[in-house]
């Protein structure tokens, strides 16, 4: 992607206007997203909430360029995303977006270091540089001592830290987290949320996080609530959560 670095000039990282995601047609038509407008600027920390079936997962898939809307426009740094093909979307993800999942999704029987290196392999980074960057990312999440441990040898919180290191190793503009604390106990959840906050403030990574816990959402600077495929509320945690 030759325009890769030009994209960051615009400070609106996400600019969505009236997008729809419709599955099926006619009688069985399901509107997972039913006309959503949303703008997210660089440096924001956004929590996305809503009951299941509210469209928040669909919205995340579209924000993460894993999926495209049926209708409407999605500009990522001002670039039209809805017309991109699979490979172009993959290139966009590779350069700008990091993912953190509820179930960590690390490669089994593969060391933490190799897991973190994986996105760099696809980016075509040379071996020595790859190693250096991956170790640096593990350092940032406080796990450099466990670089050669496999996921099975790590606790849930540690696995999620490895997953976060994997997401931030490419220096993404946007970190998308899908219930990152869903499988963790309260104390560990808090640690992970502090880490996310730190990434947001210190590394200037924009964070969008799906969660259904108000305690977790409280760490964000902005909270969105979805209901029935629409954006129901949008405001600071104080406004939305109380």
């Amino acid at each position: 992607m030759s325009t890769a670095h030009d994209l960051r000039i615009a400070d609106k990282i996400i600019d969505i206007s009236s997008i729809f995601k419709i599955y099926g047609s006619g009688e069985t038509e399901v509107r997972a997203l039913n006309g959503v407008d949303l703008t997210i600027r660089e440096g924001e920390f956004v929590a996305v909430m809503g009951p299941s079936g509210s469209g928040k997962s669909t919205a995340m898939n579209i924000l993460g360029c894993l999926d495209v809307p049926t209708r409407g426009s999605y500009r990522f740094y001002g670039m039209e995303v809805e017309n991109l093909n699979h490979d172009e979307l993959a290139r966009l993800r590779r350069h700008y977006i990091g993912f953190v999942f509820q179930s960590f999704n690390l490669l089994a029987r593969t060391s933490a270091l190799e897991n973190v290196e994986l996105p760099l392999i696809y980016k075509g980074v040379k071996r020595a540089e790859r190693r250096r960057l991956a170790l640096e990312a593990l350092e940032q999440v406080g796990l450099s001592a466990r670089a050669d441990h496999t996921p099975a040898q790590l606790s849930g919180g540690q696995q999620q830290r490895v997953a976060i290191a994997r997401a931030l190793v490419t220096r993404p503009a946007l970190l998308l987290a899908d219930e990152p604390t869903g499988n963790l106990d309260t104390a560990t959840s808090e640690e992970i949320m502090h880490l996310m906050q730190q990434l947001n403030t210190e590394l200037d990574i924009t964070v969008v996080m799906v969660t259904h816990e108000t305690e977790t959402a409280a760490f964000a600077k902005r909270v969105l609530v979805f209901r029935d495929g629409k954006l129901e509320r949008d405001g600071t945690p104080q406004e939305v959560l109380t």
């Binding site: 898939n61 993460g64 894993l66 999926d67 699979h86 490979d87 993959a90 290139r91 993800r93 590779r94 350069h95 990091g98 993912f99 999942f101 999704n105 690390l106 490669l107 029987r109 593969t110 994986l118 996105p119 392999i121 696809y122 980016k123 075509g124 071996r127 994997r166 997401a167 490419t170």
Partner: protein
């Protein structure tokens, strides 16, 4: 993503499931090993046949009476050759050595041992024409040939079976009803065209004609062309001379036949070559089955690793990267199988050729083709699973349990 990273990734995936990988590659191992063993076996057999034929004499023509009647059928109604025919051939065909023979079966007796064997009357050219070398003793003397003296030269099988390994030189061997003095022994030649070339008793041709046959017929004339490549010319000359001597008109067929050993050798060689191909083709079927095994396991692997594929796609792998990964995995698997198969094939060839008593001769093209085929099978049978992996949707794959 560079090539080396891809191969390392494939090796890691393969080593994660060692037992399964070994079992998957086993089909290719067996296929490649059997192709190599079978083709080399065929080639060794073909070399054996060639060696046997050339041990019978090089540039050899065999002249017998009788008309060729279709394949294999020979009528023997025509009149036999005599010594004068052989003398005429020696005189009129240039660049050839002519050895007339008269053969019959007779019982040979020494001490308590007796054996019914073929006794051949020859002159001294016979040794040269038929590639017989003396182990001990001497050839026939001119006076013995002229008078048909009762002397004989023995092959190694006769010494083993009748003399029980003792030195026969100077003893008297009873051949038929007359006693013969043994004046020489032949060096061993081994099996040739399905008969033991060492079970021979050679006597002066006149002695056989007079004492054993009671006729002065010559039944087979062996002719060797002295110059390599001159066999067809010598054959044509022999036919011309014999037609003249037997007063055949132009419209009459030959009532004798001149057979070229080189021609027979070629026929046999092409037969063994066909057999080699057949054996190789049968072995290649097992290679195909091995390929299907690889496809099967790769398909299972793609399903098992759907989530892994989803992760890779989410963090920026292109469909092409995933495709390459699975294709390379299949190729590495089948090439590993191929390499092990080559090693086992060579070992099997070595065992078989040492059983046959021949040297270990490896044909590089066979090894390369067998190995190359295993790589090709990886590509062909890895393609479908790899394509399946590459076309997975990242969202669904990530949710896959």
């Amino acid at each position: 993503m560079n090539g080396w990273d891809t191969i390392l990734m494939a090796l890691r995936a393969i080593s994660r499931n060692k037992v399964r990988s070994v079992l998957t590659a086993l089909g290719i191992v067996i296929g490649v090993a059997s192709v190599i063993a079978m083709v080399h076996l065929g080639q060794a057999a073909s070399r054996n046949v060639t060696a046997q034929i050339s041990s019978m004499g090089s540039n050899l023509l065999i002249v017998r009476v009788g008309r060729q009647r279709g394949p294999g059928g020979v009528s023997s109604s025509s009149s036999p050759f005599d010594t004068a025919d052989a003398e005429a051939l020696q005189r009129e065909v240039s660049g050839a050595r002519v050895a007339p023979t008269s053969g019959t079966r007779a019982t040979v007796v020494y001490g308590n041992a007796n054996l019914s064997t073929s006794v051949t009357g020859v002159d001294n050219y016979y040794f040269e024409v038929r590639n017989h070398a003396l182990a001990e003793g001497r050839q026939f003397e001119a006076t013995e040939l002229r008078s048909g003296a009762a002397v004989c030269i023995l092959g190694q099988s006769i010494i083993r079976d009748v003399y029980l390994g003792q030195n026969p030189l100077g003893t008297a061997l009873r051949v038929g009803s007359s006693a013969c003095t043994v004046i020489g022994t032949l060096e061993a030649k081994g099996e040739g065209m399905g008969s033991d070339q060492d079970e021979v008793v050679l006597m002066p041709i006149k002695a056989v004609q007079r004492h054993l046959l009671g006729r002065f017929d010559v039944d087979t004339i062996y002719i060797s062309a002295l110059e390599d490549g001159s066999t067809p010319r010598v054959q044509a000359d022999v036919e011309k001379v014999l037609r003249q001597r037997r007063r055949l008109r132009d419209d009459q067929d030959d009532d004798f036949q001149v057979r070229d050993m080189a021609e027979i050798a070629q026929t046999l060689e092409s037969t063994t070559a066909t057999l080699t191909w057949l054996l190789g083709a049968i072995a290649a079927v097992s290679l195909l089955v091995g390929g299907i095994g690889i496809m099967n396991i790769m398909l299972v692997s793609v399903t098992e690793r759907t989530r892994e594929i989803g992760i890779r796609l989410a963090i920026g792998a292109l469909a092409r990267d995933v495709m390459t990964q699975f294709l390379v995995e299949a190729i590495v698997l089948s090439c590993l199988g191929g390499a092990i198969g080559v090693a086992i094939g060579i070992t099997a060839t070595w065992l078989m050729t040492s059983q046959m008593g021949g040297p270990l001769v490896l044909s590089t093209p066979t090894l390369l083709v067998a190995f190359g085929f295993s790589a090709l099978i990886g590509i062909v049978f890895g393609y479908v699973p790899a394509r399946k992996a590459a076309h997975l949707n990242p969202i669904d794959s990530l949710r896959h349990e």
